[in-house]
């Protein structure tokens, strides 16, 4: 096992050497069994153990396969539209006072969010593994759209599980998925949101493992998903690190990203993880306020447990039942969080805070009016935190916010908050 871990780490290092990050890092997580300290792991029914082993082996193989990497890079460039720019939000920064705020423009990607970075990678893997059917869970619908998109392009069957509550609040994305040829299955069990969609996707996978590839949309789930999705999303941080150096001559003082499952955040953070001078802030959804209990902030107000294949911070009651979450943004409405964030929290490398619905909505309007950029409600949580942090910093300092997606999908939700029906 130890030698296998070393081999895998080396291949990841090869992959990272472009950004020259891992070459000088002692940060080597997860371990060979998928653990980030006490978090992560492989907590799944026996039926899934062998398929997950096959997935891990395939992933490790292609990680060091130059042909696979070249294909992935070409897709990221020509299909996704990478690299995404960094943009100095000059007017907004001036209005807030303090540090300059740069935005990593993942909203400009094809399909409008960071989610496609991951689905492009996993779909390539699915095809290499000979799978003909793709399933996915989705909350905001962004990951569902990104999965339906790559499935359409590769001619793969696609089924997307989506909680009934989310189907209602993200109907435009439901229609997009259907246009792309996916079957959207509304999930009626439990709280009828993202966690229940994940449950249902797992049940589908157990039933159809022979021909089906499950594209998990965030850095949660059983090993190797948290590491694999992180690696696919790390293109965000690799680009951003080089772009900030080129643009400002130094690294940003702080990184900020919203955290649902945590994929856009880890994608930004990971290539900076050894840059100890760079502060990292992950922002969860405080919903109506942490003190109300109506939120989706397991790192801020939960405790460790096991759900969806890994050990991590969860929102649960005193009997270990998972409790309902609340956030204005469907993409953050999840009671767990990727296990690597749990570890980064415990080790203190990253800090996790939370932003309420109202604060996120205010930031949504503020960025829209001052910069002409309509952000996703998920990303608005990160922006709201930047609006608090920037004034406490000096003008020479800089903050890099991951603008993980665009807000077009949220028009109905925001209008409803203003008392309008579109």
């Amino acid at each position: 096992m130890a030698t296998q871990a070393a081999t895998m780490a080396e291949t990841i290092d090869d992959r990272r050497s472009r950004a020259d990050v891992r070459a000088r890092t002692p940060y080597h997580w997860p371990d060979a069994d998928g653990h980030f300290g006490p978090y992560g792991g492989l907590f799944v029914p026996e039926t899934l153990m062998q398929p997950l082993t096959e997935l891990r082996e395939a992933y490790e193989r292609y990680l060091s396969d130059p042909q696979f990497q070249a294909e992935l890079d070409a897709d990221l460039q020509d299909y996704v539209g990478r690299p995404s720019p960094i943009y100095l939000a000059e007017r907004w920064s001036r209005e807030l006072g303090g540090a300059r705020i740069f935005l990593k423009r993942e909203d400009l990607n094809h399909t409008g969010a960071h989610k496609i970075n991951n689905t492009v990678g996993q779909a390539l893997l699915a095809r290499r593994m000979g799978k003909t059917r793709i399933i996915a869970e989705t909350g905001a619908g962004q990951h569902g759209v990104a999965s339906a998109t790559v499935a359409a392009r590769l001619g793969l069957e696609c089924v997307v599980y989506m909680g009934e509550v989310d189907v209602a609040r993200q109907e435009a994305n439901v229609y997009r998925m259907r246009l792309l040829g996916a079957r959207v299955v509304p999930v009626k069990s439990g709280s009828r949101t993202l966690k229940d969609a994940l449950n249902e996707a797992m049940r589908d996978w157990v039933t159809n493992i022979d021909n089906t590839f499950y594209i998990i949309g965030t850095v949660a789930g059983p090993h190797p998903y948290p590491a694999m999705v992180r690696d696919f999303q790390s293109v965000i941080g690799r680009e951003a690190r080089a772009q900030m150096l080129a643009r400002t001559g130094r690294l940003p003082d702080a990184l900020i990203a919203c955290v649902g499952g945590g994929s856009n955040a880890i994608g930004l953070f990971y290539p900076f993880i050894e840059d100890s001078e760079v502060a990292m802030y992950g922002i969860e959804a405080a919903g109506d306020g942490l003190e109300t209990g109506r939120h989706a902030a397991p790192l801020n107000a939960g405790r460790p447990g096991v759900l969806h294949g890994n050990r991590t911070y969860l929102m649960e009651d005193s009997n270990g039942q998972i409790i309902e979450t609340h956030s204005v943004s469907a993409g953050l409405d999840y009671p767990g969080v990727g296990p690597e964030h749990a570890w980064l929290k415990d080790t203190g490398r990253a800090r996790y805070d939370a932003i309420t619905d109202n604060e996120a909505l205010a930031a949504f309007h503020s960025l829209t009016r001052t910069e002409g950029i309509i952000p996703a409600l998920e990303s608005s949580h990160a922006l709201a935190y930047a609006a608090k942090l920037a004034p406490t910093m000096r003008r020479e300092q800089s903050i890099l916010v991951n603008l993980s997606g665009r807000g077009d999908k949220d028009m109905h939700t925001v209008a409803k908050h203003e008392g309008l029906i579109l």
């Binding site: 907590f43 039926t47 153990m49 049940r203 159809n208 493992i209 022979d210 447990g305 969806h308 969860l314």
Partner: protein, 271 residues
């Protein structure tokens, strides 16, 4: 020897295949569950699997999901399930009881605490669906310290290497999941099950139970010819659902159903 191992040994001596019913604890209420456990033993159950409700049962199909919802609506927690076993033990010291569920409620209670309370109440083992041997080390340790068995699942996808590994980690018996799918899934393929059970038995010494997809007496009898135990869950739980409004009728109706399975299996055992 654990109560489970002793039970399988005495069954083997008598040439009888074990009948193991699964019911969700607290569905539709705690008192009914305990009465039902006794009725199932009277009808020929040799061991009882008691489902511990969990909010996110990823390995369960709609029937057991709804049973879980009913139990959770009653506020049933792991400690309540343990209390039901204590009640059951007041008048049945013989029949082994295995708790079947998911890890998180046990994580929250604490492994050592869970093992101690379960053992004190007369629980004999646990089957934790989302704990493969890779993650089971600490849990096995805590259970063993209290003399409890940890029952593991085997699946159609388990390789020979995994079967050996699970055989080494498990005690009591192993549970072969006969279909790729969730509980209550479609029909099992008997020829395939026969092959797999034969392979498992050639690799590990523990008794092998077969479950998932056994819905009627004919299938139970056919599986009885292949395996050491026949495990029936959703077919029972869906009848409980139909009777949820008249819970007092549940023990008798399920007892009759199990007696039918038992008779068919005994025919197979003799044949």
């Amino acid at each position: 020897m654990s109560r489970i191992a002793a039970r399988f040994e005495s069954l083997r001596e008598r040439g009888r295949t074990a009948l193991i019913p699964f019911v969700t604890a607290g569905d539709p209420d705690s008192a009914t569950t305990v009465a039902l456990m006794h009725a199932m033993v009277a009808a020929g159950a040799d061991l009882i699997e008691l489902g511990v409700p969990f909010s996110d049962p990823i390995a369960d199909g709609p029937v057991i999901q709804r049973a879980t919802d009913r139990a959770l609506a009653n506020g049933i927690a792991l400690s309540d399930v343990i209390a039901m076993v204590r009640d059951f033990r007041a008048t049945d010291a013989q029949t082994p009881v295995v708790l079947m569920g998911y890890l998180n409620p046990i994580e929250v209670m604490g492994y050592a605490q869970f093992a101690a309370q379960a053992a004190a109440a007369g629980v004999d083992g646990a089957l934790v669906v989302d704990v493969p041997p890779e993650e089971g080390h600490d849990l096995v340790g805590a259970l063993r310290a209290q003399g409890l068995d940890l029952v593991y699942l085997l699946a159609p996808t388990s390789t020979e290497q995994r079967i050996r590994r699970i055989g080494a980690a498990a005690s009591g018996f192993v549970y072969y999941v006969s279909v790729k799918g969730v509980t209550g899934a479609g029909h099992l393929d008997l020829a395939g099950v026969a092959d797999r059970v034969g392979l498992i038995k050639s690799l590990i010494p523990l008794p092998v139970g077969v479950g998932f997809g056994i819905k009627d007496a004919a299938t139970a009898a056919a599986v009885a010819r292949l395996a050491d135990a026949v495990i029936v869950g959703s077919a029972i739980v869906s009848q409980i659902e139909d009777l949820a409004a008249t819970p007092q009728r549940i023990p008798a109706v399920i007892g009759d159903f199990l007696a039918g399975l038992r008779a068919a299996m005994d025919g197979a055992d003799r044949g």
